[in-house]
Point group: C2
Chain length 243, copies 2
């Protein structure tokens, strides 16, 4: 693994604090402690930060790039549990639950990650009430999303789930161009997108084909053009509509 270790990176923390994340509430002493213990690294595409089953030794703060959290099933088939973007944190779940990692973290795009040792994190939790409360809030959100995803997986067809996924990703990767159509550039392979939906790459391919036939979306490489976002949104609503 071609990784480079960079020491004493105070920057990880300052940017996060500025952005108003859970770290905003650290005291000067705690900031000092954080900086003394954090260690940052650059991972290249395809590197793995931790594997399913590994002991959980640190909390990982994603600075830049993109990381996929995946679980692998019996036949080597992969399911993508979540994506970690800059500002996101990896490994807090097993750290807090006192378990080992239940999923692997695979780097999709060259990524800088800062690792804070478990012991330091635990110390923060004991000394800083607000930090715990903030993390609680975050985790409650994530848990809600997890339930939602389960619900979708078992009750909605893949097509609706794909549209939903696109609409979610659009918030991060989408740009509206001149004529009102939506342009996205996804840093994901087809295989990864399929893994997010819990379907096979082939099924995704067919799905995409169908949607293209209807003229709603045009895919080329990892660029996607959605000519009539409203039409998709309407279909999504119809699919999700809970009365």
């Amino acid at each position: 693994m071609k990784t480079v270790n960079i020491k004493g990176q105070a920057k990880c923390l300052t940017t996060r604090r500025a952005r108003g994340t859970v770290w905003s509430c650290l005291s000067p002493d705690e900031i000092e402690l954080f900086n003394q213990n954090v260690s940052c690294r650059i991972y290249e595409e395809g590197d793995v930060i931790f594997y399913e089953g590994d002991d959980c030794t640190s909390l990982y703060l994603v600075e830049s790039g993109l990381v996929a959290v995946k679980k692998t099933d019996t036949e080597g088939q992969q399911i993508l549990i979540r994506l970690a973007n800059p500002g996101d944190t990896l490994g807090y779940r097993p750290l807090l639950a006192g378990e080992s990692h239940r999923a692997s973290a695979e780097v999709i795009k060259k990524t800088k990650v800062c690792a804070l040792p478990k012991s330091t994190m635990k110390r923060f939790l004991l000394s800083n009430l607000e930090l715990g409360t903030e993390i609680l809030k975050r985790m409650a959100k994530v848990l809600g999303e997890a339930d939602e995803r389960f619900f979708e997986a078992v009750s909605l067809p893949a097509r609706i789930r794909l549209i939903h996924l696109l609409m979610v990703l659009q918030e991060r990767c989408g740009k509206i161009v001149d004529d009102g159509s939506l342009l996205m550039e996804l840093p994901l392979t087809r295989r990864d997108i399929a893994a997010m939906l819990g379907i096979r790459a082939e099924s995704l391919s067919r799905l995409v084909h169908d949607i293209e036939d209807e003229g709603l979306i045009h895919f080329s490489g990892n660029k996607i053009i959605i000519s009539r976002p409203e039409t998709l949104l309407k279909e999504l609503d119809a699919g999700l509509l809970s009365l």
Copy 2:
């Protein structure tokens, strides 16, 4: 809704504290505050404690009985997200995330529930560091289970999921009888079991039929006799085995 309000029930808390739950760490003052604010109720079968979309006003502590947390989809189809047994807590997720309820809580068996107002709970979180930490831990566990369930739903066939469910329920409802076979009495309708697996009642029925044909399990009403638990466990292992 035939519900009865019972005031000033100190017992809710004392039993929980004795069992070593997250509440064990409350100070005498906090216990006092808890008892002043909690209000307990008996719900009958079929009652609903809260609906999907309702504002989250309280934390609900299940004292006795059984509650199902369900989401309803477009066609009125229901998915059972989780079961709440005595000692479990309902509504902490939306409370902490500051969201409204994303699922409904439906009473399956006559249930006593103690409701602690949101405001009181928030006060505890601000005054008691340990409480927050304990809840964090619980929530981290639940989140792990949620991810696991998603993974199972998309990667394992219904049959394996059913066996898994039985093995999980067996911990709570199972008794080993004389000849080594396992007796369970599930307080759930077929429809609810199907909802837990994310399949239709008809599919469950066929599944059960198949397994009975193989002589592994005998179902009658809500009683289940598993003659050779080892055989099922072996199949489960084979199904789950992640290499």
